[in-house]
């Protein structure tokens, strides 16, 4: 089920909130939250609900086993088995066909023509998100930073919780445990006000900006990717830069807002990333919950920033390569991850030498351009398409162009305005939301304006991950 759908806004959400706040007994409420979250997920494809329950059960059991065991080797064994299980699920559903297909391609280059079977299974929506949620729980229990979940019900409610289920933010059980412990039975009006603002503004970012830019500019231009001239290719790339930010940060705002309506606090996921003055800062401001996850569970265990520049560079490259692969099983994501790893490594090396731009505007511009180039890799359907776009943008390729007639003028204006907002306006976490009656009426009108555009459902970009 999409947040930007009639079914969700007009039926599911009101009923979910009524049920959640209407029930009094803790067990009933957790059962209700888990079941409605499964329903939310099953709306997309009910066949994958058992997979999520299996994953949840395995993580819960592993957490208990690790916490109970006094043997370090046994604890490690359980953790390794759990990681194999979780990553195995990801490997089967997300990566198997990619790796087998790539190996086949390599073999063909060497003159062999193998025909290895492909699974061709549907990728369960949000599998990367809920798997990472669960893995962080087990690792935190293993590290002794977290007591195991008090009940399976509580843990399954945490994993399945519909606001973050399919596209994050990646919420850690460590952040939720105390919230589950102190479940309130009455909603706080202040949380509802903030939750509604975040939900409404997030919806507007998605429906009134990202979707319009996608339909009116990004999709038409990218459909002609090989023939765009330099100006068109830059417009297409900048359009996608706007689309993905407003799409994903809009989704995150909605998720945080929905969590508040249920009385939970979720972490911030975006902090005006395009204003970053270095690529490292960008990753502390973009998809923050993933960045911090990768930092805490991959980068630091690899050695982090300790050691020689070469070692740090290796750690960054590996972390971002896996971060790229997390986004999708395609060579474009591999290259995108490596590109960002290389940028981070280069940035880290230059910082060690003290070679960092002094003028912040210059640093922000350089970082932004690097990010835009990265989005070309991210958006392209293939590496060759990305190269064609980058060739046009750099002037190395000079196709005829002539695709601007496909672009909607309003989408162009919106792209420019949205970029200005990205650089100049406070983000949703910095805004102080007005609480007057007029503001309430305007917010309701904004939500209705979004609802009127639900007729053309558009999934969130990050649903595919």
């Amino acid at each position: 089920m999409l947040f930007n759908s009639y079914t969700f806004v007009l039926i599911f959400l009101p009923l979910a909130l009524l049920g959640w706040w209407g029930l009094r007994a803790r067990v009933h409420r957790l059962v209700f939250l888990t079941l409605v979250s499964y329903l939310f997920y099953a709306w997309w494809d009910f066949r994958f609900v058992p997979l999520m329950i299996l994953s949840t059960s395995a993580d819960y059991a592993a957490g208990r086993a690790i916490a109970r065991s006094r043997s370090a080797s046994r604890r490690t064994t359980v953790l390794v088995l759990l990681l194999i299980f979780n990553l195995g699920i990801l490997a089967v559903f997300k990566y198997y066909d990619f790796f087998v297909g790539s190996l086949e391609g390599l073999a063909r280059l060497l003159g062999y023509h193998p025909e290895w079977p492909l699974l061709q299974v549907l990728l369960p929506v949000g599998i990367s998100f809920y798997t990472f949620n669960s893995i962080s729980y087990t690792i935190d229990v293993y590290r002794g930073k977290l007591a195991p979940a008090r009940s399976f019900l509580e843990f399954s409610a945490f994993v399945a919780m519909f606001p973050h289920l399919v596209a994050g933010p990646i919420v850690r059980y460590a952040d939720m445990a105390t919230q589950f412990e102190g479940l309130r039975v009455r909603p706080r009006p202040a949380e509802w006000v903030t939750g509604l603002w975040l939900f409404g503004l997030g919806m507007a970012k998605k429906v009134l900006v990202a979707n319009v830019v996608a339909r009116g500019l990004v999709d038409p231009l990218w459909s002609q990717a090989g023939t765009l001239d330099a100006a068109e290719a830059w417009i297409a790339a900048l359009g996608y830069t706007v689309q993905i930010y407003f799409d994903f940060s809009g989704y995150s705002d909605m998720a945080v807002g929905l969590a508040l309506l249920l009385g939970f606090r979720f972490p911030q996921n975006f902090d005006s990333p395009y204003r970053s003055s270095s690529i490292g800062e960008f990753w502390r401001r973009w998809h923050m919950s993933l960045s911090f996850w990768l930092r805490d569970y991959l980068y630091i265990p690899l050695g982090g920033s300790r050691g020689s520049a070469l070692l740090v560079g290796r750690n960054l490259l590996l972390t971002m390569l896996l971060g790229g692969l997390w986004h999708g099983a395609a060579w474009t994501f591999v290259v995108w991850g490596l590109y960002h790893g290389a940028l981070l490594a280069g940035n880290s090396y230059l910082a060690r030498l003290g070679w960092v731009p002094r003028a912040r505007p210059l640093a922000v511009a350089a970082t932004f351009l690097s990010v835009v180039v990265g989005w070309v890799l991210f958006r392209a359907g293939s590496v060759s398409e990305a190269l064609a776009m980058l060739g046009s943008m750099s002037g190395l390729r000079r196709p005829e162009g002539g695709s601007m007639h496909l672009v909607d003028l309003w989408a162009m204006v919106l792209t420019g305005s949205a970029l200005a907002i990205c650089f100049c306006a406070p983000n949703t976490w910095q805004l102080r939301f007005p609480r007057t009656r007029l503001a309430a009426a305007l917010l309701a009108a904004l939500l209705v304006a979004c609802i009127l555009r639900f007729a053309q459902p558009t999934p969130f970009v990050y649903f595919q991950f």
Binding site: F292, A445, P457
Partner: protein, 356 residues
Amino acid sequence: MSQSSRSHLTRAIKASPRDGAFLRTFAATLVGLLVALALLVRVTDPFATFGTGLVPPIVSADRDYKAALYRSRTPPPEVVLLGSSRIKTLRPGCVSALTGRPAFNFGVNAGVAEDFLAIFRFMRSQPRFEVREILLGAEPEAFTGDPSLGRALAQSRSLVPFVSQVESDPERLWSDLWSQASALAAVRSVWHYGLDRDKLPQEALEPDGFQTRPLLDDQIRNGRFPQHSVVLSSSHAVRSRYLAGARLSPGRVAHLHELLEEARAAGVRVTAFVSPVHPALTRDAASTALPALTRELVGVLRSAEREGLLHYAETRSLSDFHGDSTFYYDAVHMTPDNADRLVTEVYNGQGRCAVQ
């Protein structure tokens, strides 16, 4: 990726005495706006979705509206005209005068083969199915293209269940009431029929499905209709659709055969003809795919005639039915004067069309 950065941030939320009023106002405005919009759309029914019938539909989504009209006909129609907008000006009254049977015009905008099939199945599903004859106005555009698209049909709540490959959209229930398109169209309806009432409508539908064009008819009567320029410009537009080489779609031809087989099984006689276009378009499109497509279509119809599935009436040229090139609204849509002559020819010139 600094190790010193904060791992998680949550928003500080302070309570305010105005929170309660904010929430009440938000809820009241949200519900009020949604209810008001729903009422406006439901009452004006701009896409003829609900069959409210208080205000004639101002847009061309006529499938559901015609379905509602068909259901309400008494006595139930025995002759039904099927086709695209090109046959919407064929007078059911003229058919009735010639056949002595109640008739209904079920021509729909951009009608294609799966529409005809869906309409036939819809009629069969009605409690009083008395149809004995179908008059099918065929044209190449109804039998080309991708049969899986069916966008206009997919949006028709009444007809979509009758064509298996077009899936019904569960979100339709809501989007009928709350979509940007329906809201804007409802406002246009109110504007047109409430505040701009004196202006004649572009199109209007009679209860028997016959389409009139009051504004153009008025201009024609007063000698203010620029027929020559309208025909030329529309001819140019239609011609461009046939610039690329094309063949009839096997899927859509298959839909036609399904319709014919089902009609035969139900004891319904089918008479088919090709809707004639204005001679200017015939000339303009001579070098496009249109002539070949029309020949191919006639071949399909004649082949079906040989199988005993239909009767084919030749009406491609104006001279076939004593038509007049001045009786056209544009390059493809005849005025009722030509349409009457065509209907008379289809019935072998026997009898006389009483309605004028």
